[in-house]
């Protein structure tokens, strides 16, 4: 007997539940690293899945679902913040070779709050690449696809971002103490 419309809809809903179960945690963590607010991160995560429910059928390559979800979430984040925040652009020097030495004792003392606060203090340019780096869900190429920037730029931003993170955690202002983002005037 051929499946009817209800069967088809049930299968679609089961697929959706499977997708949510698999990715909602990491998507939320990525969203939180961008927004730093629980409510905003929850909204972004939910919106990403609802966008999938509406437009996901357009994706022909099923192996790219995960990258599609992260790309969509990042895109939603940029869209929401576009009218609120000006992204200052800073020309950054190459990665400083004199990287801070992180003592093992210092590393062991780090708790989640400290790490998240430190990630939040990263320059805007570095936050998403560094968050995706530590989530370890994507290759560098996939990170480049998600952020819509060249592979070489991804590598550079990750290196610079990690360097800045290490300096923040060692209370060393270093070369990347760029001003924080400012609200748009008017």
């Amino acid at each position: 007997m051929a499946p009817n419309d209800n069967d088809s809809r049930l299968a679609t809903q089961q697929d959706f539940e499977l997708l949510v179960s698999r990715y909602y945690s990491t998507l939320y963590q990525f969203a939180f690293s961008l927004t730093r607010k629980e409510d905003d991160a929850v909204d972004l995560t939910q919106q990403t899945f609802y966008t999938w429910a509406r437009k996901g059928h357009q994706l022909r390559d099923a192996s790219k679902v995960k990258t599609w979800l992260f790309t969509t979430l990042y895109h939603e984040f940029l869209e929401k913040r576009r009218r609120q925040v000006r992204f200052p652009h800073h020309e950054l020097s190459e990665v400083n070779q004199d990287l801070p030495n992180i003592a093992p004792a210092t590393v062991n003392e780090l708790d989640s709050d400290t790490v998240l606060q430190s990630l939040a203090r990263l320059d805007d340019t570095f936050q998403a690449p560094v968050a995706l780096f530590y989530l370890e869900e994507h290759s560098y190429k996939e990170i480049a696809d998600i952020l819509g920037i060249p592979l070489g730029t991804v590598k550079s931003r990750i290196s610079r971002g990690i360097s800045q993170l290490q300096r923040i955690l060692t209370h060393d202002p270093g070369p990347y103490s760029a001003p924080r983002r400012r609200p748009t005037h008017g």
Partner: protein, 248 residues
């Protein structure tokens, strides 16, 4: 490779991931074996990464998030009835009707291949539901993809469209001719659709770069020609809305 360069590369080394076998990492790891100071720094750096990664993954996910997402799920209405087995019998019957129609078609004067028919077909296709061949926000990647497939990729975008993020692209067919489709993401789940065809393939296509407007279903379409190409830009809005994306 010297130790400074190796350090810069190893700064972003993630063991056990898809990138770990990248030749640049392999070479940098070899350098670490030769330089004890680099090796000590690398060990400390890896410990740092593991700690940050673990703390990051410990970020608690709000209770009820998953249930909240599932509760808000509304299945999309997707016109893919031809893929459902229940319609296969109907499809067979439709095939017979189609054969009759084809016979009638060839016995009648040829259907017009005018520009209006083309424009109506591609814009209605966008409204009915379509599949993209590539999904990316990067307009350059969409153009490169179309070029690789032999589709029209030499199109000239109006300046406002250049500033929009892409949503994806696809290659359509019209009278056995190729049509490139580029989708732009306007946010809030709205898209703009740009269709690019060869001007020579479209009798009665607009002769100038001055856009002509028409409503097709729920969308408004602007069409114009430039060089050897004819363009159709369609979106959900009125003429004023579409004009915003045609000139600065």
């Amino acid at each position: 490779m010297d130790s400074n360069l190796a350090k810069e590369i190893l700064l972003r080394y993630r063991p056990g991931t898809a990138d770990a076998d990248d030749p640049e990492f392999v070479e940098a790891l070899e350098q670490a074996k030769l330089d004890p100071e680099l090796a000590r720094w690398f060990a400390a750096n890896q410990a740092f990464h593991i700690t940050i990664r673990d703390r990051f993954r410990q970020l608690p996910v709000p209770a009820g998030l998953k249930e909240g997402i599932l509760a808000g799920y509304r299945p999309a209405v997707i016109p893919v009835w031809w893929q459902q087995p229940a319609f296969q019998t109907l499809a067979a019957a439709a095939g017979i009707v189609l054969l009759i129609s084809v016979a009638l078609f060839w016995s009648q004067p040829r259907e017009g291949t005018d520009f209006a028919a083309f424009q109506s077909r591609v814009v209605r296709n966008a409204q009915r539901g379509y599949a993209m061949d590539i999904t990316t926000t990067n307009l350059g990647e969409i153009r490169q993809y179309l070029a690789r497939q032999g589709a029209h990729a030499d199109y000239v975008l109006p300046a406002p469209l250049e500033k929009l993020p892409g949503d994806g692209g696809a290659i359509l067919r019209w009278r056995n001719r190729t049509v490139s489709m580029v989708c732009f993401d306007l946010g809030n789940h709205n898209d703009l659709f740009l269709f690019v065809a060869s001007r020579a393939d479209l009798p009665e296509a607009p002769s100038t770069s001055e856009p002509q407007f028409t409503s097709i279903g729920k969308l408004t379409a602007a069409s114009w020609s430039r060089g050897d190409r004819t363009y159709v830009l369609a979106g959900a809005g009125d003429e004023q809305f579409i004009r915003r994306y045609l000139s600065p």
